[in-house]
């Protein structure tokens, strides 16, 4: 019984250590400069950092296939950027507070396009 408890605790420790080693700032400078950060769910951000926040140009890749390439401000998608959806659809244009805000073009995976003004992720007819 003692051996089993020891084995469980030891395994938990090893798992925690392995997890801790695979997340966080993996390359470069993630405080002020250029660096790559890996989150626990395998989301990655590679780009510019200012005062430990994503700020400037960067690329955020989600494990389920969303990829945002563009400008960040205070860790949010803000400025000009392109979002690739997992099925190949894209939105290219202006972003504010993490949402499509401003002028942009949404292109479906079959090539169909919607171009115009967007507000908080919704197309303004």
């Amino acid at each position: 019984m003692k051996k089993l408890i020891f084995f469980i605790l030891f395994s938990s420790l090893i798992t925690s250590l392995a997890s801790a080693r695979s997340t966080g700032c993996k390359e470069g400078n993630c405080d002020n400069g250029y660096g790559k950060w890996v989150y626990t769910d395998k989301t990655t951000y590679e780009g510019e950092w200012v005062a430990t926040k994503k700020h400037g140009q960067g690329t955020e890749t989600w494990p389920n296939g969303y990829i945002y390439k563009g400008q960040f401000k205070e860790s949010q998608w803000n400025g000009i950027g392109i979002l690739f959806f997992p099925d190949g659809s894209t939105y290219e244009g202006e972003w504010a507070n993490g949402f499509m805000n401003g002028e942009g073009t949404f292109t479906w995976s079959d090539g169909k396009q919607k171009k115009g003004i967007w507000k908080n992720g919704s197309f303004q007819e």
């Binding site: 989600w62 389920n64 969303y66 997992p86």
Partner: protein, 181 residues
């Protein structure tokens, strides 16, 4: 009455014993018949048991199939390096999938700002998730419900769309991309 008593006495012992046995069997049958009418559900219960057995068999079949899938992202569309599901596998994976991870929800919320707001206000709490196979459209639909108070207004928002990719962990499968646009 006296005559029948006398004629019973005249019967041989084995015949009496056989008669007794038949009597006991009839009594047992009658007892069970009465009890079944009072407490039993008869055909309804049998039908329920059959449905449950079929459900368990179906679940075992799906679990076997899930464990045979490669770990990683499974997609139902072309154009990626991920494992492409056949039509048959797509349906089976859809029927076996119950979970929707946070990133899939956040992705679907890109096109639904109000859902995003409530989701954020509630500390990423989801009321309900669902994954359903639509027999008519031959497609898998997934979604979630968020509810809460947003600037003094109680709101309940249902976000749903086509489930186009899944994550296979080797133990279970999860919806990975909900296309709600």
């Amino acid at each position: 009455m006296e005559v029948s008593k006398n004629s019973f006495k005249t019967l041989s012992e084995p015949v009496k014993q056989f008669g007794g046995l038949v009597g006991i069997i009839i009594l047992i049958f009658l007892t069970f018949f009465v009890l079944n009418n009072i407490f039993g559900e008869g055909d309804e219960l049998v039908a329920k048991m059959k449905i449950e057995e079929e459900r368990i068999a179906q679940e075992r079949k799906l679990n076997k199939l899930i464990s045979s899938l490669p770990s990683g992202v499974l997609v139902s569309f072309d154009g990626t390096d991920n494992f492409k599901l056949s039509d048959e596998l797509y349906e089976a994976v859809c029927k076996a999938t119950k979970l929707i991870p946070q990133r899939a929800i956040m992705g679907a919320n890109f096109l639904n700002f109000r859902a995003h707001e409530i989701y954020t206000i509630n500390g990423n709490k989801i009321d309900e998730t669902f994954v359903k196979w639509d027999d008519e459209k031959n497609k898998c639909f997934a979604g979630f419900v968020v509810s809460g108070n947003n600037v003094g207004v109680d709101e309940t928002i249902k976000v749903s769309g086509e489930a186009l990719s899944f994550l296979s962990t080797g133990i279970d499968t999860r919806v990975y991309f909900i296309k709600n646009f």
